[in-house]
Amino acid sequence: MNLTFCPYEKEVRQLMARGQWPDACPPELRTHVSSCRTCGDLVLISEAFQHARVESLAAARPVAPAVLLWRAQLRKRNAAMERIARPLLGAQIFACAVALFAALGFAGFEARSGVAWLTWSYWHDWFVQLPQAAAAQWASLSSASLAGSTWTWMVLVPALATLVLLGGAVVYVATDKQ
């Protein structure tokens, strides 16, 4: 299709934009429009669209601007909440991974003593002996010098730190949800 532009097109467009078509239009231009396809198309289409625009403007029922402002505020708030929650999700995944590794480590360690730990009586004995074992461990921990029990501290300190961090995260999430 050839792009054929008429030199009068701009003038016709300006007259239409100013609302001067066809009343305030020079007669020679009107004669030109009736014989020029480009200008004729322009007038036909512009008039149809302008009428349609006037009708559509009258048909529009926009909501109150406060509703949109409120919705925008809500959406921004939700987006901000999502941004805040993203690191917490990471912490939760980390906590789950640590717990999983601990469980697997424990299972692996206990598996060395056979499959006895899978029985009920094994766990019953373990729970019964737990307070005594813990007291003995605590006593040895408190009496031993720091240099002598470095390995114990290396395990205990990160474990406590993890517990504190996770506890803090859990408290934060709980209060935030409320």
């Binding site: 299709m1 792009l3 934009a17 004729g40 198309d41 322009l42 036909l44 289409i45 512009s46 149809a48 669209f49 302008q50 009428h51 349609a52 625009r53 009708e55 559509s56 403007l57 048909a59 529009a60 029922r61 926009p62 909501v63 601007p65 406060a66 509703v67 949109l68 402002l69 409120w70 919705r71 925008a72 505020q73 959406r75 921004k76 708030r77 987006a79």
Partner: protein
């Protein structure tokens, strides 16, 4: 945090300061600092731009209900966007162009989405349009012609002939080059002119 401070923070006037400024300090500095005034500025802008935007969406989509939804979504996105023009700094024309661009993208997304329409989803006006008595002149001629145009052609024609946008402005709204718009608009104009003449001839024969 003091109670008064908290109350201020929870009010939507407070949030608007950040929303309207696009969340950036730079924009906030260039914009208006008084929230009440911001509300008034937005309300004024909305008053002037909502109906033309609705008309554009309704005529491009031929679905008034969809136009309602997309118009609200356009304003919400406009208010939430980080890079949206600030009225006090960039002017209303830029804000309006941005708004039309958002609406154009939403329309495009809507058309791209595969969906099936149930009978409940079809607007009542669609059925009402079958009664010639209630139809206006432009509905009789323009609506059937627009229906035969491609969505992008409808958008371009509306922006050019109803909104009076230049090729450059249409290019900004539609995300195309001005040279492409010039060619596409030329073709679309030829096509719709032929359809309008055919519709007018049909209408003349029927009456």
């Amino acid at each position: 945090m003091a109670p008064t401070d908290k109350r201020t923070r929870m009010s939507w006037e407070f949030a608007l300061t950040h929303v309207w400024a696009g969340g950036s300090k730079e924009a906030a500095g260039a914009g208006i600092s008084d929230p009440a005034m911001e509300n008034e500025v937005f309300a004024g802008f909305y008053e002037r731009s909502a109906r033309p935007l609705w008309a554009y969406l309704a005529r491009s989509s031929a679905d008034p209900a969809l136009a309602d939804d997309l118009m609200q979504e356009s304003y919400v996105r406009f208010l939430c966007a980080e890079g949206a023009p600030v009225l006090a700094r960039d002017g209303e024309a830029a804000a309006r162009r941005y708004l039309f661009r958002v609406a154009t993208n939403l329309l495009r997304d809507h058309w791209r989405r595969p969906r099936t329409a149930s009978i409940e989803e079809i607007p009542e006006e669609f059925f009402a349009a079958s009664g010639h008595a209630a139809q206006t002149e432009s509905q009789i001629l323009l609506a059937p012609a627009l229906k035969q145009m491609k969505p992008r052609e409808r958008q371009m024609l509306w922006l050019a002939h109803a909104e009076g946008y230049s090729h450059r402005e249409i290019a900004q709204v539609m995300g195309l080059s001005a040279a492409s718009i010039r060619l596409l608009l030329f073709r679309a104009r030829r096509k719709i002119a032929a359809l309008l003449r055919a519709c007018a001839a049909d209408d003349g024969r029927k009456s």
